[in-house]
Amino acid sequence: MQPAFSVIFLTTLIGMGQGLFLAIYTEQVYSVLEVVQKSSTDTFYGIASAVSLLLLILGLIASIFHLGHPERAWRSAAMWRTSWLSREVIVLPTVMGLVFLYGLVHFMGWNLTVMTIGAVVIDLSFIIGALATLAVFSLFIATGMIYACLKFLQEWHSPLTVINYILLGSASGFTMATLLAAYKQPELISFFAGWSIVLLLFAFIFRAASLIRNKRLRPKSTVQTAIGIRHNQIKQKSMGFMGGSVNTRDFFHGKTRFFMRSIKTIFIIMVFIIPLIMLIITLFKPSVTVMGIAMISMYIGLIAERWYFFAEGNHPQNIYYQTIA
């Protein structure tokens, strides 16, 4: 496929925004259950929620550039029964609304106690956070399924697509939380950095699994099934036109094998290796600069990763567009 930068920015930005929310809520759950010592302040939760919301909004803005008629975008909530894209369109504003509420409740200090179970105090933000977590996971699934549900795009048609959206989004969000902690709440660095390392390792395992899977795929469609003629030697002599069309522009990245391999190497280094080293350094010697480098490297790497993900999708319609007579 021809990767669209609007979609690359949409998926990477909202993924990070969702991950950042999950990071702060995980920390809240841990401190409420007293697994870790409560050290975060409402201000930190408020700031982190604001950053998460900002990332979600930036993603939404990026997605508008993908549409031919953004003024009709409201219509896209209609087909939620069948379309994962429609479901994403509904869940994304829901996540944004809940993250906004979550941040607002913390920032304004409206922590009304809803109930107490033993020594555990469940307050309003805890409940909103639980709902937001549900929405965040729904959004991850919807975003991943948009691609995973297309069965003839064999590279995407796998549970690994959804898993990778969840893991890469979470890893980048937790890394962002580590950066925010380094900047504002140093006591939380080890908590977020530790989780970031764990998520990053899982993300690496599953992303590698998907790379290996895709390398071994054999296309189900061939020129024989495409035109229905049984012969081992079939060559297209003309695609029917000499100029370009949507079919020749939208479905192939047009880059060399070497370029593809380079992008793969770049994203493995920038998403996984550099941030991993920086996170380990941060565990021992916290520094905003080190985490800043980790975050920048990871985000640029994620753009490359998403570009590669889209470009790797081999659309069967390309079989019909091989030769200009």
Binding site: L150, K151, Q317
Partner: protein, 241 residues
């Protein structure tokens, strides 16, 4: 329930592109507005077409065959492009099975074109909506036209009658009979889209003779052990029957 569709005979198609030009002409003149057509005579022409004729070479020289292959939307019975549409702009008509796009609802997200394995959908770069073959829905029901003209433009244009149009759910229709009797098949059956358009394969007429049919086994001359000697004049040469 009927399912209108095209049946394209690859045995007959000569690759003249008349269906392509007539399709473009009819559909660029419709009420939905012109189809894009940028620099048609320039260096880098680009535009929206609903139908294309492609050419394939089957076999290795000298045993090759040239196959001209027209391709447009196949109006699948289970169209993968319809359920993915977030707005419902892409739909399949219940009454005749034509897959259409409501240009007023389409947001131009291109998701349906990703979901079509055949590359049958093309976004109009000027109107920014997805377009595709409508099976000339604005022609086939037009009662102001003579009845024989209520067919898709491509079908009317074809000089060799390689394109048949009709209801593939009616077992007695011209198209159903052609599919059944002449080996009609679907494209990319592996994805379960059940295309309504069918293709008729290349067919060759072979007559097979048994040796017996060329040389009579019960020839009475053989019974008499009469040896035909071709060097001598035969009865045919000396008598006039």
């Amino acid at each position: 329930m009927s399912q209108l569709a095209l049946v394209i005979d690859l045995n007959v198609c000569v690759g003249c592109h008349a269906c392509v030009t007539n399709c473009k002409e009819w559909n660029t003149s419709g009420s939905a507005g012109a189809l894009s057509d940028d620099h048609p005579y320039g260096k880098d022409p680009s535009g929206t077409f609903f139908n294309r004729v492609q050419t394939y070479e089957v076999g290795v020289f000298p045993k090759t065959e040239t196959v001209h292959f027209p391709k447009s939307c196949l109006h699948c019975e289970d169209p993968p492009c319809v359920p993915v549409c977030p707005t419902g702009a892409s739909y399949k008509r219940a009454e005749d099975g034509i897959v259409l796009v409501d240009y007023d609802k389409c947001i131009g997200c291109r998701y349906c074109s990703w979901a079509c394995p055949y590359g049958a959908r093309e976004i109009d770069e000027h109107q920014k909506v997805m377009k595709k073959c409508t099976l000339c829905v604005d022609r086939i029901y037009d009662e102001t036209l003579a009845e024989e003209e209520r067919k898709p433009a491509c079908v009317l244009a074809c000089p060799t009658s390689a394109r048949l149009f009709g209801d593939v759910h009616d077992p007695d229709s011209e198209v159903s009979v052609a599919i059944r009797e002449q080996g009609g098949y679907q494209l990319m059956p592996e994805w379960g889209t059940k295309p309504s358009n069918h293709y008729l394969p290349r067919r060759k007429n072979h007559v097979s003779y048994h040796k017996d049919e060329l040389e009579r086994a019960d020839n009475p001359l053989k019974k008499e052990d009469y040896q035909v000697d071709s060097s001598e004049p035969s009865l045919d040469d000396v008598t006039s029957w």
